[in-house]
C-alpha cells in the first residue's frame, strides 16, 4: 500500500468511511424515495403536496447549504434541548450529548437524495403497465402483494438508469462531509497536503479511488440491469 509520508493508511481508511457513508445514505435515500414517490402518486391531496414541496425545495437548494442547515441546525437544537433539561431540573440533569457527525452526514445525504430518488421512482411507477396491476387484482392479490410481486420488480427496471445516475452523484457528494469536519478521505488528504505541502501527491490517489468506485458502480449497475430486464424482449 502507498505510504505517502506515513499518511497513506489513514487516507485509505478514510476511503472506507466514504464507502460506508455512501451506501448507508443510499439506503435512506432509497426508502425516502419510495415513500416520496408513493406520496406524489397518492389520490389524497395532503401527501401529494407535502411530497412535491419536499422534492422541489431540496432539489432547488445546494447540497452544501442543506448540509450546514441540518448539521449546524441539529447541533443548535441538541444544545437547546440539553440546556432546557438543565434549566428545568435545576442542574440535576447535566448531560452532554455527543453529536455523531457520521450519523448526521448519513441522514443529511440520505434526506437530500431521497428527493431525487422520489422523482426517479415516480416516473418508473408510472411506466408500469396498468393492465399488470389489474391482472394482479383479478388474481385476488392484496395491495401489498401487488407491490411486492408486480409493481416493484417492474418499476425497478425503469428506475435503474436514473438510480444509477443518482448513485454516482451521491457518491461524489459525500466529499462535502469533509467540510463539516468528518474525517473522510478528502479531509484527511487536505490536512496531509497542507502539512506536507505536496497537494498533488495526496489528491491524485483520492481522485483515483473515486474513479475506481465510479467504474465499479457502472459495472454493478450493468449486472443489475440484466437481472431486472429478465423477460423483456430486446433489452
Amino acid at each position: 500500500m502507498l505510504d505517502l509520508h506515513g499518511y497513506g493508511p489513514s487516507i485509505f481508511g478514510g476511503a472506507i468511511l466514504t464507502i460506508e457513508l455512501a451506501v448507508l445514505s443510499l439506503v435512506i435515500a432509497f426508502l425516502l424515495g419510495l415513500i416520496g414517490a408513493s406520496a406524489k402518486l397518492s389520490k389524497r391531496r395532503t401527501p401529494r403536496y407535502m411530497a412535491t414541496a419536499y422534492t422541489t425545495v431540496i432539489r432547488g437548494v445546494p447540497d452544501l447549504v442543506l448540509m450546514f442547515l441540518i448539521y449546524y441546525g441539529g447541533l443548535n437544537g441538541l444544545n437547546a434541548v440539553t440546556d432546557w433539561l438543565y434549566e428545568i431540573s435545576d442542574g440535576e440533569i447535566d448531560m452532554v450529548i455527543r453529536f455523531n457527525e457520521f450519523a448526521a452526514g448519513v441522514v443529511t445525504i440520505g434526506f437530500i437524495y431521497g428527493a431525487y430518488m422520489a422523482e426517479t421512482f415516480r416516473g418508473a411507477f408510472l411506466a408500469v403497465d396498468h393492465g399488470q396491476i389489474e391482472a394482479g387484482k383479478a388474481y385476488g392479490m392484496t395491495s401489498k402483494q401487488i407491490f411486492k410481486r408486480i409493481m416493484f420488480p417492474q418499476m425497478m427496471r425503469h428506475a435503474l438508469p436514473g438510480l444509477g445516475n443518482n448513485w454516482q452523484v451521491l457518491l461524489k457528494t459525500t466529499a462535502l462531509v469533509s467540510i463539516i469536519g468528518l474525517s473522510d478521505m478528502v479531509k484527511l488528504a487536505t490536512d496531509a497536503a497542507k502539512s506536507v505541502g505536496e497537494p498533488f501527491l495526496f489528491f491524485i490517489p483520492v481522485a483515483l479511488v473515486y474513479l475506481v468506485l465510479t467504474a465499479l458502480s457502472e459495472w454493478g449497475f450493468r449486472i443489475l440491469r440484466v437481472r431486472y430486464s429478465a423477460g423483456v424482449v430486446g433489452a
Binding site: V57, G60, P62, L64, A175, I179, F203, A207
Partner: protein, 237 residues
C-alpha cells in the same frame, strides 16, 4: 418603507450590514457561475466535435478528460487547482501570483473545466442523435464537413441540448456553493459568516437556501422561455 426599516432595525441577525453581505455574496455567486458556464460552453463546442470523431487519437483524449472530470468530485478538482497552484514553490514571487493570489481564478478554472466536461458529453449526445436524413440531404446538396457542421448539425444540436443543459446550469449553481471553502465570499460564504457571528444555524442558512431557490426558479423560467421559442418545432401538436 418605514415599517421595513423598523423591521430591519429590530432584527438582531438580519441587520442592514448583514443584508448587504448577502447581496455581495449573491453577486459573487452569480458572477462566478456565469463566467464558469461561459468558459465551459466555449470549451465544450470544439471538444464535443472532437468527441464524435471516429479517429481514436482525437476521440480518446477528450473521452479521458470528460471521464476524469465527471468521475471525481468537484471539491477535489477545486482543491487540486487551488492548493496545487498556491503551494508550488516560488509561485508567490512570480508574476502569476497576481492572478492566483485570490482564490477567485483557481475557482473559475476548476468550475469552468468541470462544467466543460459535462457540457461536452451533453453536446456529444445531441450531435450523435442528429437525424441521419438531414445529414444525407446536406451531403446531397454538396456541403462539405465544415459547412454541414455549421449549417445543419450544430444549430439543431444546440437547440436539442437546451433541456439537458438547463440541468447542468442548475448543477453548476448548486456546485458553486463549495467556493466558500476556499475563502471566496459567495452566497454560502455570506451565510457562514452570519452563522459564525451569532451561532444560530437556521435563520442564516434558511435565508441563503431561499435565495438559492429563487435563483434556481429564475434559471428554470429562463430556460422554459428559451425552449418555448427554440424548440417550438419539436412540441407535440
Amino acid at each position: 418603507m418605514e415599517t421595513l426599516i423598523a423591521l430591519i432595525d429590530q432584527n438582531e441577525i438580519f441587520t442592514f450590514s448583514a443584508l448587504v453581505h448577502y447581496w455581495d455574496g449573491m453577486v459573487n455567486t452569480v458572477q462566478l457561475v456565469f463566467l464558469s458556464l461561459l468558459a465551459g460552453l466555449i470549451l465544450a463546442v470544439p471538444l464535443a466535435i472532437m468527441r464524435t470523431s471516429k479517429n481514436p487519437f482525437i476521440n480518446y483524449p477528450v473521452w479521458f478528460y470528460t471521464y476524469i472530470f465527471r468521475g471525481t468530485p468537484l471539491l477535489i478538482q477545486l482543491y487540486m487547482i487551488y492548493y496545487g497552484v498556491t503551494l508550488i514553490d516560488g509561485i508567490q514571487d512570480s508574476v502569476w501570483w497576481v492572478i492566483f493570489e485570490h482564490a477567485y481564478y483557481p475557482c473559475l478554472i476548476a468550475f469552468g473545466l468541470n462544467t466543460a466536461a459535462y457540457t461536452t458529453e451533453i453536446f456529444r449526445g445531441v450531435i450523435e442523435a442528429t437525424d441521419q436524413g438531414e445529414i444525407e440531404a446536406a451531403k446531397a446538396y454538396g456541403m462539405g464537413w465544415a459547412k454541414r457542421m455549421r449549417r445543419i448539425i450544430l444549430p439543431s444540436a444546440f437547440r436539442r441540448a437546451i433541456p439537458a443543459y438547463s440541468n447542468e446550469v442548475i448543477f453548476m449553481l448548486h456546485g458553486s456553493a463549495i467556493a466558500s471553502t476556499v475563502t471566496i465570499l459567495d452566497l454560502t460564504g455570506a451565510a457562514r459568516d452570519i452563522y459564525a457571528q451569532h451561532y444560530t444555524a437556521f435563520p442564516p442558512f434558511m435565508f441563503a437556501a431561499a435565495l438559492y431557490l429563487a435563483l434556481t426558479f429564475t434559471i428554470i423560467l429562463i430556460f422554459k422561455q428559451l425552449e418555448n421559442r427554440l424548440l417550438a418545432h419539436l412540441q407535440p401538436r
